[in-house]
Amino acid sequence: MKKCSLDMVVSANIPLGSNHFLLKFTHKEQLPEMLPGQFVQVRVDNAPGVFLRRPISVNFVDQQKNELWLLVQKVGEGTRKMSEYKTGDVVNMLLPLGNSFTMPQSAQSRLLLVGGGVGIAPLLYMGSLLKQQGCNPMFLLGARSADGLMQIDDFKQFGEVFITTEDGSAGEKGFVTQHSKLQEHIDKIYTCGPTPMMQAVARFAQNNDIECEASLENKMACGFGACLCCVTQTQSGHKCVCSEGPVFNTKELSWQI
């Protein structure tokens, strides 16, 4: 897939709780094809402490409206600046970057998409494409508490949604790996979220002989395989999360699980 540098126009900036926001962008021409799991590199202008671009997962692509969604957590100066974007602002992005989740071999596969915190972002787009292809994906979404849950209604359009919160304020109390849904038969898991959560999910998958793909989020400079900063250790040595990932089969990763 050819990568490009595009000046995108902000069409909406929707706050989601105190810490997250949903940015919608559009472009005057047809957006290039983007795959679930891919990301964009956002250039954040007019933020003095921000030097590098900010890598953000593709949350959703609305083909009808020619719209790209990014779900963003306020972490530092770069993402805080992004939270101030207004409709009509022009933002430069490199896209689409990275590989993608792989589609299941059969539409009958029982698929579980497990997300935590802002890591739910790529699972919405993945879920929408799975649904389009005739699958019935299930979503297991975790957060610290009810106010950390986002886009639940969006997820419900594409499949059944199960929830865990650490404080029990919504769904089942505990971690995603403790949810009762995991007692049922599952063929494949797609996961994105904090590393300890993904490692716990990978451990569960390994112990139960389930295929598992995880989307990683390492610190990166370029985003397209030039700087070699964002590597993760794999069975075949260091691999770039930006260009050889961000999605890896968890068996390939050198995680202590």
Binding site: K3, F51, K219, C222, G225, C227, C229, Q233, S243
Partner: protein, 303 residues
């Protein structure tokens, strides 16, 4: 339209804009964003005699107006370069120069000898200044005797244009430039990254797995300009300037300080087409200043 052609040793460049080693992969990473044929040259990722895994993650930290890296010369080795990468990149219409790195004189020589056999590689850049590897060359690059010794050995083994990349982590960079000129280097490129570090105050931990790393970006530009200016006055061979060049104006400053060519490094990460834009910008600057050749501004600092 001014004449942008320059010469380094025996080698002609269509324009003086090249891309810095370690920031541009082997060129292929950028072909979606720009036409490689429009720039003067590409310095490849540092290549060593054997495969290197590089340092552990994390290897990068953003810093005020720049970044630290500690990649540690991750590469698949010169034989892999020759068998797998070279065939894919050799026909680009630009000068492709291999950055040769090592830890011992024997490794440098062996790597240079292998690259010497490649028809479409007209020059090497000898990296005696990597700060991220134990004996990653910087041990050679920080003394006149060490720099001279490795250049002398490589010069005997390598017949084409030999560029030596200098470390800024020294007390007198001009004397090191003179030492490598004496041993037959055709050019020097400077500066490599400045040794630095970054700490997370909350966790009391360093951001990099290696604790220290190489600083690059606009924050190093004043140091780089000063060193290019000092070295250009001290040697007769052409100087290739780099360090924090983000746009045309930065590039012009390096020419005025005495650089014959420039390398664009960290800026490629932020705008992957920046090198082509700088070529256009230099052209426009020369026209606006009534210059017919890039040589009109090289070393033209009015001080």
């Amino acid at each position: 339209m001014a004449d942008l052609k320059i010469r380094i040793g025996e080698l002609e460049f269509k324009n003086p804009v090249t891309t810095a080693s370690g920031t541009f992969g082997f060129g292929e990473e950028y072909t979606d964003f720009m036409d490689l044929d429009r720039i003067g040259g590409i310095f490849t990722k540092g290549t060593t005699i054997r495969h290197r895994e590089g340092n552990a993650y994390p290897r990068m930290a953003e810093t005020p107006s720049g970044m630290l890296n500690a990649v540690g010369l991750q590469n698949k080795g010169v034989d892999y370069f020759i068998s797998s990468i070279y065939p894919r990149i050799k026909d680009y219409d630009t000068n492709i120069m291999v950055n040769v790195s090592g830890s011992t004189i024997e490794d440098y020589v062996a790597t240079a000898e292998k690259v010497n056999e490649l028809d479409k590689i007209p020059a090497i850049e000898l990296n005696i200044s990597c700060p991220n590897v134990k004996q990653g060359g910087m041990t050679f690059g920080v003394s006149c005797a060490g720099a001279a010794e490795v250049v002398r050995a490589v010069r005997k083994a390598y017949s084409k244009t030999l560029i030596v990349k200098l470390s800024p982590n020294v007390t007198d960079i001009a004397s090191i430039a003179q030492a490598v000129e004496e041993e037959g280097a055709d050019s020097v490129s400077l500066i490599n990254t400045l040794l630095g570090m970054a700490i997370d105050a909350e966790t009391r931990k360093p951001y990099l797995s290696t604790i220290t790393g190489g600083l690059s970006g606009p924050c190093v530009k004043p140091v780089a300009l000063r060193m290019v200016w000092q070295v250009a006055k001290a040697v007769k061979i052409p100087v290739i300037g780099l360090g924090g060049i983000m746009n045309t104006a930065d590039a012009i400053e390096f020419f005025l300080a005495g650089a014959t060519a420039i390398q664009i490094g960290t800026a490629n990460f932020i705008d992957p087409a920046i090198s082509v834009k700088v070529v256009e910008g230099i052209n426009e600057y020369l026209d606006r200043h009534g210059c017919s050749s890039i040589y009109d501004i090289i070393g033209a600092l009015e001080a």
